[in-house]
Each structure stands twice: as structure tokens, then as C-alpha cells.
Symmetry: C2
Subunit: 325 residues, 2 copies
């Protein structure tokens, strides 16, 4: 990771460490940025007794959770730094005296100016994975955990971030031929469900709402593997396509059970299995938290293949950024 | 509310009041029962600083949140009392020393036996609304809040439960002709989205996964009104149907904004507006929390009309209860 990113993270960490009491971690963002922070809430939930919640920004702004105050840490994210709801959420949090940390690709954006501790991340294919949004978020997160309760596991996690790039490349290579075949086979599907759980739920959610619905105009819904059997599975049929991600973490049995059933009744399953990935460089102990980052990269590749096959570029929009809403 | 229900609730309340310190409220259930408890987490979030979380049961069981322990209160629900994941979640919570409260329609079910404080609710068209699941949950919830921080508002909310039945009947009557027209008009739709936020999000989620997907085999996805503009809205088109519920609470502006946009580009909108409802008997101060219960009843009526028009009874299943899964 670049020194400028690490310095900013370490600054934020000092502020977190200086707090006598933390009552709540709030992760607040919209759409893909919310999805990106979902594993953070999940990891905090399993690693610390301090409560964490995640909100879409405008729900946070309009409900003003009662526990939000000077003892809270609020982490927000907007890629452009211009998402008005997320800027407002950060301003509200700061007004209430909370410690505010914001992630953005744009220095000096409204979000950047709203937060006390803005963190910059790089973007684009030439950047190293450790400098991208997920590298910065995971470094921040495990450094926070290491302040709350210092242990080797969290140091291993911080070190693992430097190996993300090579692991992602191997994961994409491993799945490349499958992905291009799936893209050909499923290019005419009007609806594709996604399904996962645990640390990987956010990747399934993100793929459904951003890649499929927003960027491909393909109908979708992200189903939690644990919820599948309590309603949604009744829509399963031979011709209903599902993208299923089997995670590496604690909730893998949920994904396995959903896959076992779904693949019996649907002939259109795309399976991404985090156990397939070569995660050399990432310590065994923290792999359950890092698998989702590789799945995310694999799915992102699939979106490229799908866009190509459908002749519908990922950058095409009919409403977003084109009008007032 | 029947005395037997109230007595059991009051017993649970005594146990909550006896706790010196509560670190976390966990609401844990599957599918429709999880959806049913979503407003509880929302209300707690706005009314108390004690953190609340909601989980689908198997995610709770497999992740074992770190804060779960003797200071926690875990509220579970299974209509049949037999949902294995929810029984396990209750057993796990009790093992960890948490105070366990479970809602079920079946006395002496496995869930009933697993929880320290099981609460019974009635079912069926002849029962008074105050004795049904939502009446029991809301009474429990506002009595808990009144123990944590006694105030008139919570007493008003407990009293409001007795007026639910008449308000529900008026709401259903008000929407009856619209509902039957919508059912005729949309009976051939293969996919219907639902959308809402705040206290009403759970009703939109429940309608998508239980009524549409499970009971009608209609594809669906519940979109949070605040998330709509951050991806999902790109699927909006003249022929894409949406059921939108405008709530009465703090997040109504989110629903209004989503409706304003969506109704410009889709010709197939079913709007349920909680401001339409006659809520006489329910104090103005607590109406924002009760509107969702009326929307839920209206949507449940719509499911009956839709099932009739489609000749697909709500009781039909192809997988659920018919095989091992």
C-alpha cells in the first residue's frame, strides 16, 4: 500500500485509539458503496462486542439513530465523493460529535470536506489492489480491531492486503474460461438471481443491484442463502438462472445447502466457490474474511464478458447522472 | 388483548426489567417471521441507545455474534414453532446465558420449549388483531421500551394495539376496489418489484419473498426506497410493475422520492399510501410506527385477489414441506 494511504489510515486509527469509549460503529453509504461495506459490519460483529450497524445513507439521515453521538465512529463511503445522501450522513454524524471517517476516490470532494478523517483510495486497472477501496477498508478495519484488542490475527490481516492483487489475478485466471462460457450461455436471460451469505453477501448484493440492474438492465434480486428456503426457493425452476457464491467463512454451510437444492431444480447455475481460490500469501486464519474480495473480482470480470456478449457497455445509463432525481 | 397473552408478555417484561444491564437486543427469525420483526429493530433504533440487530436464524447460529451473552435479550419467532434454524438460534442464545423470548402460534412446539419466555399468539380470521403476531410483538416491544425509559408515548402505543383491528378493517375497505382492479390488471406479470423503507420495509420484503415468490411463483425483489436511485432504478421501464408503499414515518421522504421518479417511467405502479388510512384510536404520536401494520394487511388482501385471478391458491407449494431440504 502507498505511504500516503497508510499515513491517512494511521491518522484515523490514532483518533479511534484516543477515544475512551466507543458505543457504536456505523457504516453508512448508498448502493455499491453500501454493499462494499457490508463485510465490514459482518467482520466487526464476529470480532468485537462493540455494536456495528450498516445503513443506506438516507435512512440514516432521516431516522437519526438514537445511539449516534460523541462516542460513535461513523464510516462513510462515496466513490465520487459527491453522493448527496452520504455527504449529509457524514455532516449529521459530525454535528452529533461522532468521529467521522470517509472513503472516497476524490480528494477535496464534498464528502472529503465533510469528514474529519477522509481516506483516499486509487481506482483503475493499473492500481495495486491494496490501494483500491477494498484494500483501504480492510486495512482500516483490521487496524481498528488491533487497537481495540491487539492480536496477531489482525496483524496478519493487515499484511494480507498486500497479497490481494496476486490472489485476485489468479482467481480471475482460474475462472476466465467458465466466465466467458456463462456470458455466452446466459446473455439473453431477462432475470438472474444472485445468492450468498456472511462476508460475501455484499458481493452478491452489489452484483445484483449495480452490475445486473444498473449496468445491464437485467432484472435481479439478491437472496440470502439462509432466507432461500423460507420463501424464495419456490421460484426455482429448470430455466431460472442463479449466480451462487459459496463463501469460505462461518456461513459456508448455508451457501452449500442452498446450492445443493438449487442445482437440483435449476439447469442454469453459475457457481463461484471461494474454496477454489489460491490464497497464498494470505494467512489461513484470515482467509474466511478475504475470500469475498476474490469472489467480487471474479464477478466483476463476469460483468465484462456479459456486457460484451450483450453489446451493452457497462457505462450505459438511461437515468443515472442524466437528469434530476 | 386476551389476558393469557398479556400475562405471558408481562412475565417476560419482568425478566427484562430485572436485568441490571442489557448490551444488545437480537431479533432472529427466518423469512416471513424475520420480515415481521424488521420494524422492531427499526423502532428500537430510533427509541433507545441499546443496540439492536436482526438476523436470519442460520446466519446468527453460524456466526455467533461476539456480543451475544448473559446481558443480551434475544427475541425469536416461528409461526409453526418448528423452524429448525430458529429453534437452534434460541438454544444457542440460551446456552450463552441470554434472556430468550420466543413468539409462536404453537404452544409446546420445539421453539416454545427452547425459549425461557415463550409467547403465544392467535391466528386466523376470527382472531382480534391485538391477539395476532403483530399485536403481541408491538405490545412486548413498547412495554420493553417503557421499562427502559418510562414515558406516556409507550403507554399510548400499548393502548393503540387494541384499536388495530378496526383500523385494519377500514384500511382494507378503503383499498378493496383498487386491489381487485390491480389483481386483474397485473395477473399475467412474471415479475413484480416491491419498494418501501423504514418501519414498512419489512412489509415490502415479506410481500416479495413470501406472497409473490413463495405463494404465487412470481419473480420479485424488495428494493429499499433509499437504494433505488443507486442502481436498481435503471431497470425501471414503462412495462415494469412496482408495488410502492409510502410510509408515515421518518423515511417517508425516501418513499415519496422513489414514487415520484418511478411513476414517471413505469405505467404499472400500485401505490399504498399510509397517509390514506383512518387511524382513529391510535395516538398521533405513535402512528408512524403503526402505519406499516395497516399496509401489511392491505397487501395481504391484495395477495388474495391476485391468487384468485391467477387461479393459483396461496397454499400451493412445490418444494416447501414436501421434501427434505
Amino acid at each position: 500500500m502507498k505511504k500516503e494511504h497508510m499515513d491517512r489510515i494511521d491518522n484515523a486509527i490514532k483518533a479511534v485509539a484516543a477515544k475512551k469509549h466507543i458505543n457504536h460503529f456505523y457504516f453508512v453509504a448508498c448502493g455499491g458503496s453500501q454493499a462494499f461495506m457490508m463485510p465490514a459490519r459482518y467482520i466487526m460483529d464476529m470480532e468485537t462486542e462493540i455494536p456495528s450497524s450498516i445503513y443506506t445513507s438516507n435512512e440514516f439521515v432521516h431516522t437519526e439513530p438514537k445511539a449516534l453521538g460523541p462516542d460513535s465512529v461513523v464510516i462513510t463511503c462515496s466513490h465520487s465523493g459527491n453522493t448527496p445522501e452520504t455527504v449529509k450522513a457524514t455532516e449529521l454524524a459530525r454535528q452529533k460529535g461522532a468521529l467521522t471517517i470517509a472513503l472516497s476516490n476524490l480528494v477535496d470532494s464534498p464528502l472529503w470536506l465533510a469528514a474529519e478523517y477522509p481516506l483516499h483510495y486509487d481506482w483503475g486497472k493499473e492500481a495495486d489492489a491494496s490501494d483500491l477501496n477494498k484494500g483501504v477498508l480492510y486495512t482500516l478495519l483490521f487496524k481498528i480491531l488491533n487497537v481495540l484488542s491487539p492480536c496477531e490475527k489482525y496483524e496478519k490481516a493487515v499484511k494480507a492486503v498486500d497479497h490481494l492483487g496476486e490472489c485476485i489475478n489468479k482467481a480471475k485466471e482460474l475462472y476466465a474460461s467458465k466466465l466467458s462460457q456463462w456470458a455466452k450461455k446466459y446473455k439473453r436471460e431477462p432475470l438472474i438471481y444472485t445468492m450468498s451469505s456472511g462476508a460475501t453477501y455484499g458481493e452478491a448484493y452489489s452484483f445484483a443491484i449495480c452490475l445486473l440492474m444498473e449496468m445491464q438492465w437485467v432484472h435481479s434480486s439478491c437472496i440470502h442463502s439462509g432466507e432461500y428456503f423460507h420463501g424464495p426457493f419456490e421460484v426455482t425452476d429448470f430455466d431460472v438462472p442463479f449466480i451462487i457464491i459459496k463463501g469460505r467463512g462461518a456461513t459456508r454451510p448455508l451457501d452449500e445447502r442452498a446450492y445443493a437444492f438449487c442445482s437440483k431444480y435449476s439447469e442454469k447455475i453459475m457457481l463461484v466457490d471461494e474454496n477454489d481460490f489460491d490464497m497464498t500469501g494470505i494467512d489461513e486464519e484470515v482467509r474466511p474474511y478475504f475470500g469475498s474480495l476474490l469472489s467480487g473480482a471474479v464477478l466483476r470480470s463476469f460483468a465484462d464478458y456479459l456486457a460484451y456478449e450483450r453489446g451493452h457497455e457497462l457505462s450505459v445509463r438511461r437515468y443515472m447522472w442524466k437528469m434530476e432525481y
